[in-house]
Symmetry: C2
Subunit: 474 residues, 2 copies
C-alpha cells in the first residue's frame, strides 16, 4: 500500500482534489487536514449573508464533513499542519495540543489566503473586521442585528461561537467605515446600506475596483453615491481608533477623523505560504507558490492549488496570481485526477472576474492596465464605448460601457471590461472565451453573436466596441 | 465619373452597405431602390409591437429616408427593380407605372426574403396574416384593438394605410390560430396571450423551435402550456377556412377543425431571388444567392447580402442560409467597404440565434442536429445537462438546460443550445465565440468564465455541460 494522498486545507481546491481523487483512485487513501472547524463554503456569498439576501449562514456551506466522508475522504478538522518535510515526505500535524507526523505519497498544499490588515493599526479592536471566513461573516451580521436577535445555529459546529456571541449584544452601528474599494468594499457597501447604516467608503487611490479599469470604477463610484454611500476617494486610512474598552470609535485618515461604530477592512489578501518557508518548494514572483501546468511545484510529488498558488495567464503565458473561486475548484479537480494517474491540465487563467455593485454588473478579463500590458511586451491600444444592452425600442435595457484593450502590432485582444445594469456581467464571458482563443479584434468584430430585441441589439455592445477599436488599429 | 453603386433593397443589408460606402467613398454615387414605402426597420421587434411592449410602430423604424439622405444616399422609395442585365450592367426600375434603365458600376442584391404561405390554402383571407413587414404588424395590432381605438400615424408614409384601416373596425378576436412553432409562432403566442386571447398553436412536428433541439423545444412547450397556450403538436394545418365574406372562421387540421377569428402563419421564409432568374448569377443549394467570403456573386461586380444570400458556416466551412439580422447588417457593411475599395470579409455565420418564450430565454448555435453533423463529416456526440444559473443560495436563479454537441474524433465543439429563465440567452455567446474559435470540448471545459453568486455559480452551466460531455468523449 502506497502512502496516502495528503491534502492541506479543506476548502475549494483541497476538497475538489480529494473528491476527484477518491472517485478516480478508490483503492488509495486520501486525508484532508483542515485547521478550522468547518470545510468548503462559499466565500463569495458572505457579503450577501451580511446584507440579508442569504438568510442563514449555513446556506453557504457547500460540502458537509459527512458528505466528504461519504465520498471516501478521510477528513480531519481542527488539524493544523505545522510543518512539511519534503525529504522525509511527511507533514507534522497539530491536533488537541499534540503533534504527530503523517507520511504522504503525494501532497497538495491548498492553504488558501488570508485577509491583509497591515499596515493599518487597530484591526484587532472590537468592531474591526475583515470579511474573510465564516467567523467574520457571522460576527458582522451579529453586530448589525438588534441585541439578542441573532443566534448562531449550534446544531453543527462551524463557527467560533464565543467570538460571534461577543457581538450579539451590540447595538446596531449607526455609522460604519469600509477601508478599501475593491470587491469586498463595494459588496459590503451594498450590504451595510441595506441595513440603513451610514456607510463611509475609503479608497486610497482615485478609483474604485482598480482591476476593472477607470470606466468601471467611475460608473461604480457614481452608483455608490446615488445609493447613499459616502465615498472618500484618494483618502488613505491611517488608523482604526478605539476607546478604553478596545472598541472601534473612529477611523483616522489623511483628511481628518471620521467617527464610526464599526470598521471593515478589505484591502486585499495574501497567500498562505509560511508553512513552506523551510522547504525547497519555490514561490513565484507574487509570493504565491509556483506551479507548472499540472499544478506541480518545484518539488517532486508536491502540488499546490487555490488561493495559495500561482497559475499561468492566458494572455502573457507567464505565471500570475489571481485567487478566485473557479480557479481553485478547477485546479484542485485536475490535480486530483493527475495524482490518481491521469495527468490533467489545471488550465490557464484569464483573470476573469465579475462583481455586483448595487444595480450595476461589472466584469473584467485579461490585461486592462496599459503598463502591465507594456511590461508583458505588448503595445496596448484601448477604447471605451457606451452602447445599449438591448434594441433601443425594447424596455429594460441599459447603457453598457465596454472597454477593450488590444495589441497594436498583432491586433490581439488583450483585455476587456464591462459595466451596466442589464446583463453586463455575463457578457464578459464572450471576451474571456475570445481571449483564451487568442482572437484578434478583427475576429472579435466579426463574431456571430446573439441578437433578439429583449436580450441584445443587432450589434452587441462587445461588437460595437470591437468595431471602434478595430478602426483605431487600421 | 464611374457608374454608381446600385443597391436593390432598402433594409438592413442594403442600407448598411450604402451607408458604409457613402462614408468611405464620398465621391461616388450610391443609389438604393426600395420597392416599398419605407426603409430599414426592426423586423424582430414586430411581435413586441403586437404584444404592446413596444408602443408605437414607428419606434421600430431604424433609419428614416431623411437620415439616409443626410448620409449621402440617393434613396428611391416605391421604386421596384424588375430586371437585372449583368451583361449591360444595368437594372430595370419600375416607378409610377413607368420603367427606366439604370446603369451600375457595382450592384448589391439585397432583396431579402418573404414569408411562406404555401402549401396552406386560405392565407389570402381577411384575418389571415404572416408576420413579415410593417403592414402585417400594423394590421394585426389593429385587429386586436377595440374598434376605432387603433390609428396609424399618418404624419409619415410608411405602411399601407388602406390595408391597416380594414382591420381597425374589427372586434378583437376571441380565438386565434398560430400555424407553425418556430420563432414567429412562439413570439406571437406570447403576444396574443398578453391580449387575453385564446391561443391555439399548431406545429406539424412533435417539437417547438426545431433548430434549437429537443431539450429547448420540450421546455418551451411546457412553458407555453403553463402560460395558457393550447398546443397542438404533431398536427398539420391543412387549410385556413373562411366564410362567404372571405373572412377567417376556422383552421382545418389532421385532428379536425378549430374555430378561430384570426390565423397567423409562421412556417418559414424564402429568399427573394426571382429577379435573378434570367441572369447568370448562381444560386446556392438552399436557393439563396451563392457568394464568396466578400459577398461577391458568381458575376463580376454583383454582390448579394442579407436574407436573400448564403454565407459560410463557421463549423462546416460550407455555404449555409441562415437569414438573421446581424448577418445582414454585417455583410452589408463589409460589402460597402469592399466596393469602396477596401476589401473586407463578410464573416462566417455560426447560426447563433436567441428567442424569448414568455419567461424563458432560449439560445442555439452551430450544428445541433446529429444528421446534419454527420452529413458534414463529423461523428457527433451530445449531452444535455441541467445546472443552476446562480449559486444555489442566491435568489433569482433558474435551472438552465445546456445541450452540447461535439465531434468524437477531434473533440471539437460543433453546436450548443441553452434554455432557462435567468440569463440563458446571453450565455449562448460563450458558445458562439468558442465555436468560431474552433475550440474543443476540452478547451471549453477549462475556460476561465465569470463567477459571482448573483450572476453565475462557480461552474457556469456551460462548464458543467462541457465537463460531462468531455467525460463521454474520453
Amino acid at each position: 500500500m502506497t502512502d496516502p494522498f495528503v491534502v492541506i486545507g479543506g476548502d475549494a481546491a483541497g476538497l475538489s482534489a480529494a473528491s476527484k481523487f477518491a472517485r478516480e483512485a478508490p483503492d488509495r487513501d486520501v486525508i484532508v487536514f483542515e485547521k478550522g472547524k468547518w470545510v468548503s463554503y462559499a466565500h463569495c456569498g458572505t457579503p450577501y449573508y451580511v446584507k440579508g439576501t442569504v438568510e442563514r449562514l449555513t446556506d453557504l456551506l457547500s460540502l458537509s464533513p459527512e458528505q466528504a466522508a461519504e465520498r471516501g475522504i478521510d477528513l480531519r478538522r481542527n488539524h493544523e499542519v505545522v510543518g512539511v518535510d519534503t525529504d522525509a515526505e511527511t507533514v507534522a500535524v497539530a491536533h488537541d495540543s499534540e503533534t504527530f507526523s503523517q507520511p504522504y505519497g503525494d501532497l497538495l498544499v491548498a492553504t488558501g489566503a488570508r485577509a491583509m490588515t497591515g499596515p493599518i493599526p487597530g484591526t484587532e479592536l472590537d468592531g474591526a473586521f475583515t470579511m474573510h471566513g465564516l467567523d467574520s461573516a457571522a460576527s458582522v451580521r451579529a453586530a448589525l442585528s438588534e441585541p439578542g436577535e441573532f443566534a448562531v445555529d449550534t446544531s453543527i459546529e462551524y463557527v467560533d461561537t464565543a467570538l460571534v456571541e461577543k457581538y450579539t449584544d451590540w447595538e446596531p452601528p449607526e455609522r460604519v467605515a469600509i477601508v478599501g474599494g475593491g470587491y469586498v468594499g463595494v459588496e459590503m457597501a451594498e450590504a451595510f446600506q441595506a441595513h440603513n447604516i451610514e456607510t463611509h467608503l475609503f479608497q486610497r487611490s482615485g478609483h474604485l475596483l482598480p482591476p476593472f479599469g477607470e470606466a468601471v470604477g467611475e460608473r461604480v463610484a457614481r452608483q455608490l453615491r446615488e445609493q447613499g454611500v459616502i465615498l472618500h476617494l484618494d483618502t488613505a486610512v491611517e488608523e482604526i481608533v478605539g476607546n478604553r474598552d478596545e472598541r472601534v470609535t473612529a477611523v483616522a485618515h489623511d483628511g481628518g477623523t471620521t467617527d464610526v461604530d464599526l470598521a471593515l477592512v478589505g484591502i486585499g489578501i495574501r497567500p498562505n505560504t509560511a508553512l513552506l518557508a523551510d522547504t525547497p518548494v519555490d514561490l513565484g514572483y507574487s509570493g504565491a507558490i509556483a506551479v507548472d501546468e499540472y499544478g506541480a511545484t518545484s518539488v517532486n510529488r508536491v502540488y499546490a492549488a487555490g488561493d495559495c498558488a500561482e497559475d499561468r495567464h492566458a494572455v502573457t503565458g507567464e505565471p500570475d496570481w489571481v485567487p478566485l473561486g473557479l480557479t481553485a475548484n478547477r485546479a484542485g479537480r485536475a490535480i486530483g485526477q493527475t495524482v490518481a494517474g491521469d495527468p490533467s491540465l489545471v488550465g490557464d487563467i484569464a483573470g476573469t472576474a465579475v462583481v455586483k455593485a448595487f444595480d450595476l454588473e461589472c466584469g473584467r478579463v485579461g490585461l486592462l492596465d496599459h503598463e502591465q500590458a507594456s511590461a508583458a511586451g505588448f503595445d496596448p491600444v484601448s477604447t471605451t464605448v457606451t452602447a445599449g444592452s438591448r434594441s433601443g425600442y425594447y424596455p429594460g435595457g441599459d447603457d453598457t460601457d465596454v472597454t477593450l484593450v488590444a495589441d497594436r502590432n498583432s491586433g490581439r485582444l488583450l483585455g476587456g471590461a464591462l459595466v451596466g445594469e442589464d446583463r453586463a456581467a455575463i457578457r464578459i464571458d464572450t471576451l474571456a472565451t475570445a481571449i483564451e482563443a487568442d482572437m484578434t479584434i478583427d475576429e472579435l468584430e466579426r463574431l456571430d453573436l446573439a441578437y433578439a430585441p429583449p436580450f441584445s441589439p443587432v450589434w452587441d455592445p462587445v461588437l460595437v466596441a470591437a468595431k471602434v477599436l478595430n478602426g483605431q488599429l487600421e
